[in-house]
């Protein structure tokens, strides 16, 4: 799968594969729309992309469920998917590639060697670090080992999914495998996190496309996510926002509010604290997204979403550390316990105060009588 330099430009490849200029402009314009770029930028993007060379991509899967890849393969229509593979050169993906075993590993080694310092590393899944990384091994090597090895020659790393971005579900309490995010392990390479469980297909392809178009890592937020997709919270772009502002909330999944499409905040929607493109790009080619289907946002694109309390309790719901949410009885118990402890200490402080004031008053005797003597 690897090619020898000089690689043809993407434009040449497109021509060779019979993809028309208009089809490509159309694709780029659609992408620009997804990226929320000005509509006319699609043409410029098409020109830039045609002139660019395909980067070699190595796709590593670690502690993951393959949901991200499932999502990715549902990006747009198959023709566009083929377009995607015209834009990048996917030199290693142990799930998708035909080769297996020794052959596959050799392909990776070859691609790494040929494109050292230039290839794009895509990582899917968290990296277990417990017990020396024994929880995830391929070809006799731990994920940790493979990652550090592959990262060395990478131009940049794209973490696909919440697991590789933030640790995800494997990282969730009690994290038996010592799972870590890629950014916790690799600190000397540009990293782009495309979080989500899974990420929206168009967000993955869009990020890769953006990287190829720009030739560098795009603008990122504090969690290293591309701001074009992760710049707004679900809540900010949610079509149910007017209900939130008016204070109209569904209180249960089968009440009048839920049927009327009111805000799901009180049913635990994490939209306000979740940054992703679900409300704008939507899913399955723009058909819908969870809130539109009547379910609160789970906040899957955010770090620690699995440990953030029940999916069905509102954002400000108090949580007592790792133990879970506070129940009224538990809160009352805790309050009473604290109050009793406080009362005991208070009683103690009164004893101290009594001793202190008695001490200050001196021996019990009329002060004036002393003075008179």
């Amino acid at each position: 799968m690897s090619r020898s330099d000089p690689q043809p430009t993407i434009g040449e490849l497109l021509d060779r594969n019979g993809v028309s200029r208009r089809a490509f402009v159309k694709y780029c314009t659609a992408m620009a729309s997804v990226l929320a770029l000005p509509p006319l930028a699609g043409r410029a993007m098409a020109e830039q992309l045609r002139a660019a060379r395909r980067p070699s991509v190595i796709y590593l899967s670690f502690q993951e469920c393959t949901g991200c890849l499932e999502s990715l393969t549902r990006s747009f229509a198959p023709t566009i998917e083929s377009l995607l593979f015209n834009v990048i050169s996917l030199d290693y993906d142990d799930t998708l590639m035909a080769a297996a075993g020794q052959q596959a590993e050799e392909a990776r080694a070859q691609a790494m060697k040929a494109n050292y310092g230039k290839y794009l590393l895509v990582v899917d899944g968290s990296v277990p670090t417990g017990e020396g990384g024994v929880y995830d091994c391929a070809a006799g090597r731990s994920a940790l080992d493979i990652l550090t090895d592959c990262a060395r020659g990478a131009a940049a790393i794209v973490c696909v999914g919440t697991c590789s971005s933030f640790g995800g579900i494997p990282f969730a309490n009690p994290n038996p495998t010592g799972a870590r995010a890629v950014s916790d392990i690799i600190r000397d390479k540009p990293i782009v996190n495309v979080s989500g469980c899974p990420p929206i297909a168009e967000v993955i392809t869009g990020t890769l496309l953006q990287y190829v178009t720009l030739g560098r890592v795009p603008e990122l937020d504090a969690h290293l996510r591309p701001t074009v997709f992760f710049g707004n919270s679900i809540h900010d772009r949610c079509y149910r926002r007017p209900f939130y502002d008016r204070g109209q909330f569904a209180k249960s999944f089968d009440d009048e509010g839920a049927r009327s499409g009111w805000c799901l905040y009180e049913l635990g929607c994490k939209g306000p604290t979740t940054y992703n493109a679900c409300a704008t790009v939507k899913w399955n080619g723009g058909v819908s997204f969870p809130i539109e289907s009547g379910h609160p946002c789970l906040g899957c694109a955010e770090p620690d979403f699995w440990d953030g309390g029940s999916f069905y309790s509102p954002i400000p719901t108090p949580r007592w550390g790792k133990a879970g949410e506070v129940r009224p009885a538990q809160a009352a118990e805790l309050a009473v316990g604290a109050a009793v402890a406080g009362a005991v200490i208070g009683a103690g402080s009164v004893l101290l105060a009594g001793r202190r004031t008695r001490h200050l008053q001196g021996p019990e005797q009329d002060s004036h009588e002393k003075k008179e003597e």
């Binding site: 402080s349 202190r356 004031t357 008695r358 200050l360 008053q361 001196g362 009329d366 004036h368």
Partner: protein, 440 residues
């Protein structure tokens, strides 16, 4: 010009100025510590520093000087409470978060607690938290007394009264003066009866300055034909221990009266026209005495009003013209004697022109709390009472009545100082002058 330190020394009694700094501090701590209790703690803890009490205080209203804010006057007490007895006191001491009070502070507060507070209780009525600020000030004075910082006028009077029963040394003992007043006004003075239903007391101010008021008391009581008596060993109603902040002396002074009342098996002890004497005996004596008093304490206006109610007394209408009445703070705000004087005035056919602030909300005469006795306080006192005089003038009254000899003395003093045209008169005297002989 003398230095403040010298001025302070001059304001103190010799025993007090002899005290060393450590003695002062220890004394203050002792005094404050003794006053710490659930009630004072709640009051001290509740303050939110809203500053509203300043607006109730005539010293602040007159000067607009923030140091006269009532709650600020108890600051040393508050500081000692927080540092020694509040919930976090051990932590405050451990971390040094609350300073110890200093002698300099105590000395500064002498002026605030004694010279610029009449303990009139107006601040207690305005506090949105409901704090009885005046009660705290009484307690704070007790600490100041222990620190040897009570002004000499109050200290010496209190000391003498505790020792001898008389706040001042007089050429002729008050007992003799009392009998002389009887002779002068031609009323019989019942004295030292072994048994009487009613024990009478007399105000030192009346004996010295307003003998007619004393005679009027005897005359009214004689008219009512109730077995009553003065007692030589419990004659003076005032309590300078209270003013000075001398808790133990206050108790001893009260006990003198209590013992005499018990000795003559009195059912009622009558306090003459004196506000603080009534308030002290009525509300504080039992606690200091350690038991409920076996007799009732009544102010003479209350007693007369009761007699009017019972039909035992009838009064002739008084030709008083437009009349204003000054409610003594110690009687209304501190003691709830609200209706009695008005009932009496009605019986005399007087409808008073009320001042802007009246009954429970009236301004103090400026002399209460012993302030009228303190020489150093005079200048500020005059300033504070100007507003009161204006309010009285605004009533356009010809006759100006009150029912407290200390208030009367203060207004008389103002008459001299300001060349004020009104003369404060005693309600009791007016009653005595208008007794209606009943057909028997």
């Amino acid at each position: 010009m003398s230095t403040p330190a010298a001025e302070l020394r001059a304001s103190l009694a010799p025993e007090e100025s002899a005290m060393e700094s450590e003695q002062r501090l220890a004394g203050a701590m002792r005094g404050f510590a003794r006053e710490v209790g659930a009630l004072s703690a709640l009051r001290l803890e509740s303050c939110i520093h809203c500053g509203i009490c300043a607006e109730a205080c005539h010293f602040y209203v007159a000067t607009e000087d923030p140091k006269y804010t009532p709650i600020l006057k108890v600051e040393p007490f508050k500081q000692v409470f927080k540092r020694e007895a509040s919930a976090f006191a051990p932590i405050y001491r451990w971390l040094g978060l609350k300073r110890d009070i200093s002698v300099a502070e105590l000395e500064e507060w002498q002026h605030l607690l004694y010279e610029s507070c009449n303990m009139c209780g107006r601040c207690s009525l305005i506090c949105p938290m409901g704090i009885d600020v005046a009660a705290l000030i009484e307690q704070a004075r007790r600490g100041m007394f222990e620190a040897g910082l009570a002004p000499k006028e109050l200290y010496e009077k209190a000391a003498r009264q505790q020792r001898t029963g008389q706040p001042e040394e007089t050429a002729e003992p008050y007992r003799e003066k009392l009998l002389a007043i009887g002779r002068q006004f031609g009323v019989s003075i019942p004295l030292d009866a072994p048994q009487a239903d009613v024990m009478l007391t007399v105000s030192r101010t009346d004996i010295e300055q307003y003998p007619k008021a004393v005679a009027s008391l005897a005359r009214v009581m004689a008219h009512l034909e109730v077995p009553c008596t003065f007692r030589s060993d419990g004659l003076i109603a005032e309590n300078y221990g209270y003013y000075a902040g001398a808790r133990d002396w206050q108790r001893d002074i009260s006990r003198r009266l209590i013992d005499q009342a018990i000795a003559c098996q009195a059912k009622v002890l009558i306090v003459p026209e004196c506000g603080h004497a009534y308030s002290v005996l009525r509300w504080q004596a039992a606690e200091l005495y350690g038991a409920p008093l076996p007799f009732e304490v009544r102010h003479i206006t209350e007693y007369i009003a009761e007699a009017l109610d019972g039909g035992r007394l009838k009064l002739r209408p008084a030709d008083a013209g437009a009349t204003a009445f000054h409610d003594p703070c110690m009687l209304v705000r501190k003691s709830g004697v609200m209706e009695a004087p008005r009932k009496i005035m009605r019986a005399l056919g007087i409808v008073p022109n009320e001042m802007t602030h009246h009954v429970g909300f009236d301004y103090c005469c400026g002399g209460g709390g012993g302030v009228v006795d303190i020489e150093r306080a005079a200048k500020l006192r005059y300033r504070a009472m100007e507003n009161k005089l204006r309010e009285i003038d605004d009533t356009m009254a010809r006759t100006f009545l009150t029912s407290c000899s200390d208030c009367r003395r203060t207004f008389d003093d103002a008459k001299r100082h300001f060349d004020w045209e009104k003369t404060p008169q005693s309600l009791l005297e007016l009653v005595a002058d208008h007794l209606q002989e009943q057909a028997r």
